[in-house]
């Protein structure tokens, strides 16, 4: 990690309250160095764990699950009954998804997930959450004005007769949304369908 680029990670309120990123980088390197010296960590962990969540574990896994549920009614039933077990059938499991629940959008019910207290998120099916999911704006507003937030900030205007169900992930169960299968996809296969399923669709801030 010598001569590393500091990169650029936008803080939640960058303009008015700039926090120097170099400070965060230095504190991180200091902690890393001390842990390595004390035999509490090894250097190769950094790239390996990053790569795991950059390449192997991400929303493409959730998309696979959803696509299978769209084409396989028996799997869909198992998924809605016990998402953890059903995902394991596809080899999908892990940390921050030890107990998962999948909730199904319908023409009359729209689900959306949030973690008002921190940043809980179903890693095995969605990977690591984007900053906006973890930042105060989303977390504060989703439980008190979900319709307004979805409309203004995500362009998703839900009719009043659609019930909105917000899942605040306050304990150790992790939720994800099965979006409605789009019209006109009747002839698509599982793999093709999976390409339609977005991370935002499985959070519930977008339709697919």
């Amino acid at each position: 990690m010598s001569g590393q680029s500091v990169g650029s990670s936008p803080p939640p309120i960058s303009e008015t309250f700039p926090r120097p990123e170099a400070e965060a980088a230095a504190r991180t390197r200091a902690l890393e160095a001390l842990l390595i010296e004390k035999g509490l960590m090894t250097s190769d962990l950094v790239d390996r764990m990053a790569s795991l969540y950059e390449k192997d574990i991400g929303p493409h896994l959730g998309a696979k699950v959803v696509a299978k549920a769209w084409v396989d009614p028996a799997f869909k039933k198992r998924l809605l009954e016990n998402a953890t077990k059903a995902c394991k059938e596809l080899g999908i499991s892990g940390v921050q998804g030890e107990d998962m629940v999948c909730v199904e959008n319908t023409p009359k019910v729209h689900h959306v997930i949030v973690c008002t207290l921190c940043s809980c998120y179903p890693w095995p099916v969605l990977g690591l959450p984007p900053n906006w999911f973890k930042y105060p704006q989303y977390r504060s507003r989703m439980v008190i004005e979900p319709r307004k937030l979805l409309k203004e900030d995500f362009g998703l205007d839900l009719p009043q007769d659609v019930e909105v169900r917000v899942w605040d992930t306050s304990a150790e169960i992790r939720y994800f949304v099965m979006p409605e299968r789009p019209a006109g996809t009747e002839r698509m296969g599982e793999a093709e369908l999976a390409k339609l399923v977005t991370r935002d669709g499985m959070i519930g801030v977008a339709k697919v």
């Binding site: 990690m1 010598s2 590393q4 500091v6 990169g7 650029s8 990670s9 803080p11 939640p12 309250f17 926090r19 990123e21 170099a22 400070e23 980088a25 230095a26 504190r27 991180t28 390197r29 902690l31 890393e32 842990l35 390595i36 509490l40 960590m41 090894t42 250097s43 190769d44 962990l45 950094v46 390996r48 764990m49 950059e54 499991s93 892990g94 940390v95 998804g97 030890e98 107990d99 008002t116 940043s119 990977g127 984007p130 900053n131 906006w132 930042y135 105060p136 704006q137 008190i144 979900p146 937030l149 995500f154 007769d161 019930e163 909105v164 169900r165 917000v166 605040d168 992930t169 306050s170």
Partner: protein
């Protein structure tokens, strides 16, 4: 604790800012922070609730203005200090060193089998679910009210839920109780329940129509309504 991390229903924080094509990690230091989680939390140096409570103890100004992985960095470092693995002075001094010498290398040590052990853990999970002999006190459909508790320590009972009436939607398994586990007072596993709250119960006339919030609550957070 009642503080800035408890964000449900707070106004005035602005619009959601979606970063176009956001990478999983923005920089090397974010990757390093992520790895440190596995090396420290993943080896049981501190537990999940100590991790979360460490973030909550940030000053609200710090909490609300810092990058996400700065939260992790803060709690991981402080937990390791509190558990005696390093001192605050060591950490501060080394930080000053890297600020003055941004190109100075971090020492390297390799342990491929050890690293693969963490990968295995990533796929296998680290559950806080526990077997308990007691039966769940509530059943699906029961009307409950969330207790009004205001501990100075850790809790997962959000302020906007306290004192509000809801209906048990699902009975989960038992899980380690954050309120004690964050403070060295034991795991005390309890059943968790998913409770459905009508938005009007939570927000009064201000609520949007036709909405429910589903909230997971440990048994001791709830009373029969």
């Amino acid at each position: 604790m009642n503080d800035a991390h408890d964000l449900g229903g707070i106004h005035g924080l602005g619009r959601v800012d979606v970063e176009a094509k956001e990478p999983v990690f923005h920089s090397d230091w974010e990757k390093a922070v992520f790895a440190i989680l596995w090396a420290t939390f993943g080896t049981g140096r501190y537990n999940l609730d100590e991790f979360r409570h460490g973030i909550e103890r940030m000053h609200p100004v710090d909490y609300l203005s810092s990058r996400y992985y700065e939260h992790w960095l803060h709690t991981m470092g402080n937990n390791m200090v509190e558990k005696g693995f390093l001192t605050k002075d060591e950490w501060d001094a080394r930080t000053r060193y890297y600020l003055s010498n941004p190109d100075a290398p971090v020492p390297r040590k390799e342990d491929r089998p050890g690293v693969e052990g963490f990968v295995k853990m990533a796929y296998e999970g680290a559950p806080t679910r526990r077997e308990v002999s007691a039966k769940p006190q509530f059943r699906v459909g029961d009307r409950v009210v969330a207790r009004n508790i205001n501990p100075t320590g850790h809790t997962r009972l959000a302020r906007y839920i306290r004192g509000k009436r809801g209906v048990i939607h699902a009975v989960h398994d038992a899980y380690v109780l954050p309120d004690t586990n964050a403070h060295g007072k034991g795991e005390n596993p309890q059943y968790c329940y998913n409770v459905a709250f009508d938005a009007r119960e939570l927000w009064g006339d201000t609520a949007e129509p036709n909405e429910k919030v589903y909230f997971d609550a440990w048994e001791s957070y709830l009373e029969k309504a």
